[in-house]
């Protein structure tokens, strides 16, 4: 036989190149250098050096993170995705043969033979050949423009082809199919379709109600879903042009990604006479052994108890089982939890435990909000004690803790609906917190790290995520457990009585609140002094603006006197925009403006060639100003009675008003006058983040006050005051602080609230986030503001009054001060010349920056 004789030559040759000590080591050959094959090597070298490991991989590169494959389209490179560099294998004395698939196994002689002609002897063989995309046998499937989604090479092909495609389809609406659809959108495909054979999306993970919610969410992302569709043929000359379906309809597409399931790579095993399942997969026992005791199969190619596990965590567990076996330990594989969370950016989807079980075998609680696109279902044991499983669509923050609750059979709290609704009584959540998990709870399933391991590492000093990753490996694989791990760090530190500190940066070992107090007590007035007293090094772009904000919240001096510690926008008292121009926003308190002032804005805009737009905050923004022009522009505005609008600062922006009782037939009080009074009171005050307010004349709420940091709504008897609302990317309604109060009380509460926030919030934390993180939440804050539980209200009011009394328009200060004015030049050696890079082009009847 041809390769028998060759074999002897090769085994001798290879044996000769081994180090002496290797000669006696048993040889393990790993077939497949995918995620699980790599993990096997990593686990084995960590446990033992008494084996010689040889790896064969079919792909041209060493193992990479397939789970995060889609990030290749979001700017991650192949190197970023790599699990370990090629040098890692050499360092651990592992021989790595890439681009060289194994073609034959000779079980009698215990040898393998590769495509490039290498023949080697093995003592143990580990098959980690993974799976390939299942490609259905549809006429036309071989046409150009039809792809699968499995390897980096596949993605490179898709990317190149997508450049010329306008519309694309994904065949298969499962976990991977939806991920592929999102990838097509990210690649700029205008029209993306998902074709699913079943009557719902993700049929293995979610029920039809969940699928309904998911569908409408996906529609918003720009994906069109076709259910109950089976493809009959792929039409087109050479390349795909349309899909024909069995119901006689068709869809024109330029490209197709097939994601119709996976097929275990068992062809090599079959050839070698290993037992395989009828629908594919290498049959293994609980030790991952095939019917040949020297050959193991792990990962997506292994069929255990009639099941292929298409996820990475069970594959890692299988690798651990084989490593334990080889190093004479005891561990078996008994199936694995298939709970999953979809990583599709934009829509949260998760399912866990027994998600499809229905009544009467369990009790089901369903929460559905079609407006927000949220669907949640939990299945509870009939005695109400245990969580069995569930489905989350649209909002899956609770996934990890719910999964833990199922896996660890944690007894449910009396109102299990709180698990998906959040507790609504304002009181702290009981029972479901991370610290109540049992010690053996598996927190990171990829790396099999328990709660106990994490907590003891934290107690031994690994108090940061990075340190913890290093010593426990938790959160290093899929990263899904990161939120739980973070909570565990915080919880453990707190339980140990340690103070959890958010230090500002490498230069200041203090939280913002601590530094605020230190600067105040020591009466420090500039950044260098603060750094000399309490910091180290030369500062940076993180601590400089934090200290700048503290200094102005305390002393309210003209901020441009210390211009180089300000964020760029604060330094030039204007927002820097695309191309390096600036915007100008004069204050228009409450949104009320006279015709004369409107005319001045128009004249100034015309004179300096500025683009004008009404903002979402009821005022006017003038864009496209050259830095050199800023002082002149402001001089004209100030002459006409305008002041800075602080649109550039972490400060009060606008107090939005509705027209109120002066004109509106429903108005209960004069909301405009009150909004102006409040805006004038707090204008210019620097805070940890920007502040916005609103005043509405009645419950119709036309000023959207409940979306603001503070919102005031007229009642028959006075005002209702709401605080800590937020618009932006994570909208949150403001919460009621006090009802039916008069103007004076309202301002008193606002003084206390704002000053307390200014003193205690972390940098760049809006009031809503500040409240969310506050121990005791709204009831605590209410107690501080209304009942003076900390005994600081008098002081808060005084401090606020001091800030109000020292108000100055910072643009006026600049306009009137030649030295400060001089700073507004682009070229230091040609102060009158404007930045030649700045260019405009016409748009409608105005201009826009070209860049």
């Amino acid at each position: 036989m041809h390769f028998r004789s060759q074999l002897d030559v090769f085994t001798n040759k290879v044996a000769l190149t081994f180090k002496k000590s290797d000669m006696s080591k048993p040889i393990i050959i790993v077939i497949g250098n995918g995620m699980v094959g790599y993990k096997f090597c990593e686990k084995l070298v960590a446990k033992s050096t008494s084996f010689k490991i040889i790896v064969f991989g079919e792909e041209p590169r060493s193992a990479y993170d397939r789970v995060h494959l889609s990030e290749y389209f979001n700017g991650k490179s192949a190197d970023d995705l790599s699990l370990a560099p090629v040098s890692w294998y050499a360092e651990h004395d592992i021989a790595l043969h890439l681009n060289d698939p194994i073609q034959e196994i000779n079980r009698t002689d215990k040898t393998i033979h590769s495509l490039k002609g290498i023949t080697l002897k093995y003592d143990y063989l580990v098959m980690a050949t993974g799976s390939s995309a299942f490609v259905p046998d549809i006429p036309g499937i071989e046409k150009n423009g039809v792809f699968v989604y499995r390897t980096i090479e596949d993605l490179e092909l898709i990317k190149a082809y997508a450049a010329t495609a306008k519309n694309g389809a994904v065949m298969g609406g499962g976990l991977l199919g939806l991920e592929a659809a999102k990838a097509l959108i990210d690649l700029g495909i205008k029209e993306t379709h998902v074709i699913e054979f079943a009557p719902r999306l993700m049929p293995r993970q979610i029920d039809s109600a969940g699928s309904g919610t998911l569908q409408s969410k996906l529609r918003q992302l720009g994906v069109t879903i076709h259910l109950n569709k089976s493809t009959a043929a792929i039409a087109g000359e050479h390349k795909i042009e349309a899909l024909h379906f069995t119901d006689e309809t068709s869809l024109a597409v330029d490209m197709l990604v097939i994601s119709a399931g996976i097929r275990p790579r068992d062809e090599l095993a079959k050839l070698a006479g290993l037992h395989t399942g009828t629908r594919g997969g290498i049959i293994v026992n609980e030790k991952m052994q095939t019917n040949d005791e020297f050959i193991f199969a792990i990962g997506e190619c292994a069929l255990y108890d009639g099941m292929i596990y298409g996820l990475v965590a069970p594959g890692y567990d299988m690798a651990e089982v084989v490593v334990t076996y080889l190093t004479a330990g005891e561990k078996s594989f008994y199936g694995y939890d298939m709970s999953t969370k979809l990583k599709l950016i934009g829509v949260d989807v998760a399912s866990f435990g027994d998600c499809f079980i229905t009544e009467p075998d369990c009790r089901t609680i369903v929460f559905e909000d079609t407006h927000k696109g949220v669907y949640k279902r939990i299945n509870i044991s009939n005695d109400g004690k245990y969580l069995l499983g569930g489905i989350l669509v649209g909002e899956a923050d609770a996934y990890h803790i719910l999964l833990q609750t199922v896996n660890n059979k944690i007894v449910l709290p009396p109102n299990p609906e709180d698990l998906i609704l959040g507790s609504r009584g304002g009181e702290a959540n009981e029972g479901a917190g991370v610290m109540s998990l049992p010690d053996e709870a598996l927190v990171c399933s990829c790396e099999a790290v328990s709660k106990a391991t994490i907590c003891s590492a934290v107690n031994e000093g690994a108090t940061s995520i990075d340190a913890l990753k290093k010593c426990t490996k938790a959160a290093t694989s899929c990263g899904g457990c990161m939120p739980l791990v973070k909570d565990l760090i915080a919880g453990t530190l707190k339980a140990g009585g340690q103070y959890i500190k958010n230090v500002i940066c490498e230069h200041f070992d203090y939280s913002r609140q601590e530094l605020y107090d230190l600067v105040k007590i020591n009466k420090l007035k500039n950044y260098d002094l603060v750094l000399d007293h309490f910091g180290k090094g030369d500062g940076c772009e993180v601590c400089k603006p934090v200290v700048a904000s503290i200094l102005s919240s305390l002393w309210n001096d003209v901020i441009v006197k210390q211009d180089t510690i300000q964020d760029s926008n604060d330094r030039y008292l204007a927002n820097i925009q695309k191309g390096g121009t600036y915007s100008v926003v004069p204050r228009i308190p409450g949104g009320e403006i006279t015709p004369d002032k409107l005319i001045v804005i128009g004249q100034v805009a015309k004179k300096y060639g500025l683009y004008t737009k009404i903002t979402g905050g009821q005022r006017i923004d003038l864009f496209g100003a050259h830095i050199n022009d800023l002082p002149d522009i402001w001089e004209e505005l100030i002459d006409a009675g305008f002041e800075s609008g602080h649109a550039y600062g972490k400060a009060l922006r606008t107090v939005k008003s509705c027209v109120g009782s002066t004109w509106c037939r429903f108005g209960l009080h004069d909301s405009v006058s009150f909004a102006i009074e409040i805006e004038d009171r707090y204008k210019g005050i620097r805070s940890p983040h920007k502040l916005k307010g609103g005043v509405s004349g009645c419950v119709r709420e036309c000023a959207e006050a409940q979306a603001k940091d503070f919102g005031i709504i007229a009642t028959e008897r006075g005002w209702n005051l709401f605080i800590c609302g937020n618009g932006g990317s994570k909208p949150q309604h403001a919460q009621l602080l006090a009802t039916d109060i008069d103007n004076e009380t309202c301002i008193k509460y606002l003084d206390r609230f704002l000053m307390f926030y200014i003193k205690t919030a972390d940098p760049l934390t809006r009031t809503a986030t500040w409240l969310n993180k506050m121990d005791g939440g709204m009831s605590y804050l209410k107690n501080v503001i209304i009942n003076d539980s900390l005994g600081i209200n008098e002081q808060l009011e005084e401090e606020m009054q001091a800030l109000v009394n020292t108000y100055h328009c910072e643009w006026k200060e600049v306009v009137e001060n030649p030295d400060l004015r001089k700073r507004f030049a682009h070229f230091v050696n040609a102060p009158d010349e404007k930045d030649p890079q700045v260019k405009f082009e016409p748009m409608r009847e105005q201009v826009k920056a070209k860049w």
């Binding site: 030369d538 500062g539 772009e541 211009d563 180089t564 050696n829």
Partner: protein, 116 residues
């Protein structure tokens, strides 16, 4: 060494034209050069004014500072706060950008930039 002999020293500005611990931008032909007065350390640096991240002419308007145990002086771009070493122009935010740097000389209250 030829690199030194070939340097042409160009007068940029007076020392007090550049704010303490801050930057200013100089025009040299069609080039824009950012000059930094690191007065806390009594050092001067110069780099290209163009931020390589999104091609914004803005580095001179950024914040300076230092990082690491050896206090590497750095500049943070005002646009997206990518940071760069003032010593060799290397991007410190883990990306493959590189700034051009220039030697600076201060004599009699005047700041000169070395053009190679």
């Amino acid at each position: 060494m030829e690199t030194i002999t070939n340097i042409e020293w160009v007068l940029a500005c007076y020392t007090d034209d550049v704010p303490a611990n801050g930057g200013a931008c100089m025009k040299h032909g069609n080039e824009q050069i950012a000059i930094f007065n690191f007065s806390r350390r009594n050092e001067w640096y110069a780099t290209q004014n163009l931020c390589p991240h999104k091609q914004q002419m803005a580095l001179s308007r950024g914040m300076i500072g230092s990082t690491g145990d050896d206090c590497t002086p750095k500049i943070a771009c005002p646009f997206h706060k990518k940071t760069f070493s003032l010593i060799n122009g290397e991007c410190l935010s883990g990306e493959e950008y590189q700034l051009k740097t220039y030697p600076v000389k201060v004599e009699n209250g005047k700041v000169y930039i070395g053009i190679v």
